[in-house]
Symmetry: C2
Subunit: 421 residues, 2 copies
C-alpha cells in the first residue's frame, strides 16, 4: 500500500464515518501514524441523506473529502480500499489494494441496511445508507412520476405514484415528511396533468408507535404532524412480500407502490476474520475501553460495536452520538494504552435526539426537556449545520435551506443518472 | 404520450439546450401548445461542465429542471424521451415513449462529441458533453491519483498521473487551466506522498494555435498564460492511437496518460428520418428562417443546423450564441408563419467569445475590443452567473467561486460514483 513503515506506532482505522473520523481527529499530535481506510474518498453526513433523496440538498454539500481533512495533519494516510479480511494473528488488514500491518486496529465500519434475510425485498426495495443510494431514490421517484404521465391504466398510475416507506424511525419519519411536502408544494406545479390525490405516501412500522426510541409524547407529536400532512401511517404492520408494484403486509393488506424505501433497520457491518467469541448477535463485543473481546490491540467503535453492560444490555443505540463519543475517548485511551497508563471507561452521555418533519415542524428530545414545533425545528437546523464538516458545506446548506423555505421549493429534482435495477 | 390534443397548434421541440429552451420561453403567451422532448429532465449549462469535472462546482448548480420553468406557463408539456425517428410525411415524432403528431417541429438536438470515426479513441477517451460525463472525468481523475499512490513502477505512475486534453478550443483551454490550478494548489496537499512534478497536463491541438476561433493575439495570450501555469502545449499535433495508458501522435511521439479528455470536436446530432437533401456534411440545412430544406413546418436551430450563406459558407459557429438567437427569433417567426405574415430573416449578432484560464486570468473578445487578464476574468464571471438559470444556482455558484477563490481550494473532490469502463 506504499505507506512508509512507521517510526510511530501505526493505528489503522477501518471506516471514516462519525466514529472513525472523530477518532482520527483526536489522534492528531499524539505521536501515532494514522491510516484511515474507507470505501469512499469522503466522509458522508448520514443524517441529511434524506434531503439528498428528496431534492433538497446536493450530494456534495453533505460530503467532505478525507484528504482535505488530513492535509493539515502529519503522518496521516488515507487509502480508498475495501477491507476483505482481518488477520489478527499476523496483525494485518487484507484489502483489495494490498495488505497492511497494524499496531492498533480500530474497526469503525458502521452498519448496513438490514433486510432480515428477505432476498426479494433486498432486491426490489431502495435502501438509503450511502449518498449514491440517496441519489437513486431521488432519480427513481422522478422517473416514476414521468412514467405515471404516460399511462392511462389507473392501477399502474396508482403504483407509479405510490411510495411506501418501511420503518418509522427518524429516517422514515423525516423522509415521509419531506415527501409529503414535495407532494403538497412542488409536484402539483411540476405535474399539472397528474392528479396528486392519487399519490399516496405510506409509512409502515412494525411497532405500535413511530420513533420508538423517543418518548410516547414525542411519538404522538410526530404522528399527529405527519397525519396532518397527509401521510398514511400504518403501525403494527410488517411487509412480507413485494413484486415491484405492490407490497403485501403480514395481515394480507396490499398497497400499490413502485418505490419502496427500506428504512426498517440496520445491522452492524464488519470485515471477516474475527474469532467467533468476539461477536454476538451480529455486533462486535467490546469492553468499556472499546477493546474487542478476546483480541489484543484491536478495537471497535460505533454502530458495529456492542458494549454490553448491566446498564446497557443491548449495547448503545446505533446512532451518531455513541460513535462520536467512543471515537473521541478512544483517541485518548490509545495514547494511555501505549504509555502503560490506565485507560478511562466509556460512559455514554445521551445528548438527546431529534427528527424534523417539515416546515417549522420537528421533535427534539434534550436531557431534561423536550421541544416540539417551530422551536424544535430551529434547534434541528442549528445542530445539523453545526455538525456538518466544511465551511463551504455549511454555507451552501444554509443558503439551500433558506431558498427552499422561502420559495416553498426544492430545485434539485434532477435525474442526473437514471436509476436502473 | 398523453398530451391533450391541441386547441392551439402544437409546436414540438426536440432538445432543451440553449436553442430549444430559448425558443420555448419565447413561445410563451403566443397561443401555441408547446411540447419539449429531452433525454434529461433538466437544462444543463454546458459552459460550466469543465468546473464540474474539476471539482469546482456541484452538478446541481448548473442544471435546472424543465418542469420548474414550465410550471409558470400554460399549455406547455415536457416529456423525458429519446427521439428515435421523425416521420415528416405523417408529421409525427417517434420516441421511446410513443409517437407524437406535430404542427410545427423544431429540431434543437445540438451536437455530440466527434471522434472522427476512430472507434478506439471513442472507447477509451473521456468526452464531456453531459453532466454525467463531466462527473466521470472528476471520478477518474481522483481514482487515478489514488491508484498512483499504490504503484512503485515509474511508468505506471507517470501514466496514472498524466492527463492529455485533446482539443485547444475554449473547453480544452478552460480544462487545462483548471487542472493546472488543481495540480498547483490542491493536489500537493491532498497527496503529499506523490511527487506532483510527475503529473503532466498536456494540451494537444491539430491547429497551429489555441482558440482558433478567436484572434491571434488572444491565442497568444491564452498560450502564454497556460505555459506559465505549467501546461505542456503541443500544437499541430494529432492523436492517432491510444491504448488506455499512452497516446501516440501522428508524428510518432508517445505521451503517458491514463486519462485522455476528448475536446477535439463536435458533430451535429439529429434524429433519423430526414430526407437526404435536408442534410449536408452532417448538419441540417436551413434557410434564413431556420426552415429545414425540402420540408414543410420543420425547423432546426443551433448546433445541428447549418444556415449557409455567402457570408457564412460553413454556417454559424457551433456555440451557445447562435442557438440562443435563433431560438428567440424562431419563436416570433412561428407566430408570423401561423398568421401568414412575412417572417424575419436571421442575422447573427456576434456578441463575442470568452474563455477563462485560471485565477484572474481570462481572454474575452467583445465586438470592437478585447480584454485580457483580471478584467476579462471578472467579465467572464459576471456573464456566466448572469446566464445561469435559477436564483439558487446563481447564489450557490457565486458562493462556491468566492470560497474557491479565497481558499485556493475546491472541495468537491468526491468520487460519488466511481467511473468504470
Amino acid at each position: 500500500m506504499n505507506i512508509p513503515s512507521a517510526k510511530n506506532q501505526r493505528v489503522v482505522i477501518i471506516g471514516g464515518g462519525f466514529g472513525g473520523l472523530n477518532l482520527a481527529k483526536g489522534l492528531r499530535n499524539k505521536g501515532f501514524q494514522v491510516v484511515l481506510l474507507d470505501r469512499h474518498n469522503y466522509h458522508a453526513f448520514q443524517p441529511l441523506f434524506y434531503q439528498v433523496a428528496t431534492a433538497g440538498l446536493e450530494p456534495g454539500s453533505i460530503a467532505y473529502p478525507f484528504r482535505k481533512i488530513f492535509s493539515k495533519y502529519s503522518d496521516y494516510y488515507f487509502r480508498m480500499a475495501n477491507v476483505l479480511r482481518i488477520d489478527t494473528s499476523a496483525r494485518t488488514v487484507n484489502t483489495d489494494i494490498g495488505t497492511l500491518p497494524y499496531d492498533y486496529l480500530v474497526i469503525a465500519t458502521g452498519a448496513t441496511t438490514n433486510f432480515f434475510g428477505n432476498k426479494q425485498l433486498e432486491q426490489l426495495c431502495m435502501p438509503m445508507k450511502s449518498i449514491s443510494e440517496a441519489l437513486d431514490i431521488r432519480s427513481l421517484m422522478l422517473q416514476n412520476l414521468e412514467k405515471a404521465l404516460l399511462t392511462n391504466n389507473a392501477d399502474d398510475k396508482d403504483s407509479l405514484m405510490g411510495i411506501v416507506i418501511v420503518g418509522g424511525g427518524p429516517t422514515g419519519v423525516e423522509l415521509a415528511g419531506a415527501l409529503a411536502e414535495l407532494k403538497k408544494d412542488i409536484l402539483p406545479k411540476d405535474y399539472p396533468d397528474l392528479d396528486m390525490r392519487v399519490m399516496d405516501i405510506h409509512l409502515l412500522d412494525s411497532n405500535d408507535r413511530l420513533l420508538k426510541a423517543m418518548s410516547e409524547k414525542t411519538s404522538a407529536k410526530a404522528q399527529e404532524a405527519l397525519l396532518s400532512m397527509g401521510v398514511d401511517i400504518r403501525l403494527g404492520t410488517r411487509v412480507t412480500d413485494y413484486d415491484g408494484k405492490e407490497i403485501t403486509t403480514k395481515s394480507g393488506e396490499k398497497l400499490r407502490a413502485a418505490m419502496v424505501i427500506w428504512a426498517a433497520g440496520v445491522k452492524a457491518a464488519y470485515p471477516d476474520g474475527l474469532p467467533t467469541e468476539s461477536t454476538s448477535s451480529g455486533r462486535i463485543l467490546v469492553d468499556a475501553f472499546n477493546r474487542v473481546k478476546g483480541l489484543d490491540q484491536v478495537f471497535a467503535i460505533g454502530d458495529c460495536a456492542a458494549m454490553i453492560s448491566e446498564e446497557n444490555p443491548l449495547g448503545h443505540p446505533m446512532m451518531a452520538q455513541p460513535a462520536l463519543q467512543q471515537g473521541a475517548l478512544l483517541a485518548d485511551n490509545l495514547d494511555r494504552f501505549r504509555n502503560g497508563q490506565q485507560p478511562v471507561a466509556f460512559h455514554y452521555k445521551n445528548l438527546g435526539a431529534m427528527a424534523t418533519i417539515g416546515r417549522n415542524k420537528a421533535v427534539t428530545e434534550l436531557p431534561g426537556f423536550n421541544l416540539y414545533g417551530w422551536i424544535a425545528w430551529v434547534a434541528w437546523l442549528f445542530v445539523h449545520v453545526a455538525k456538518l464538516i466544511g465551511f463551504r458545506n455549511k454555507i451552501v446548506v444554509m443558503i439551500s435551506w433558506a431558498q427552499n423555505y422561502l420559495s416553498h421549493s426544492r430545485d434539485l429534482r434532477l435525474i442526473i443518472r437514471p436509476f436502473k435495477r
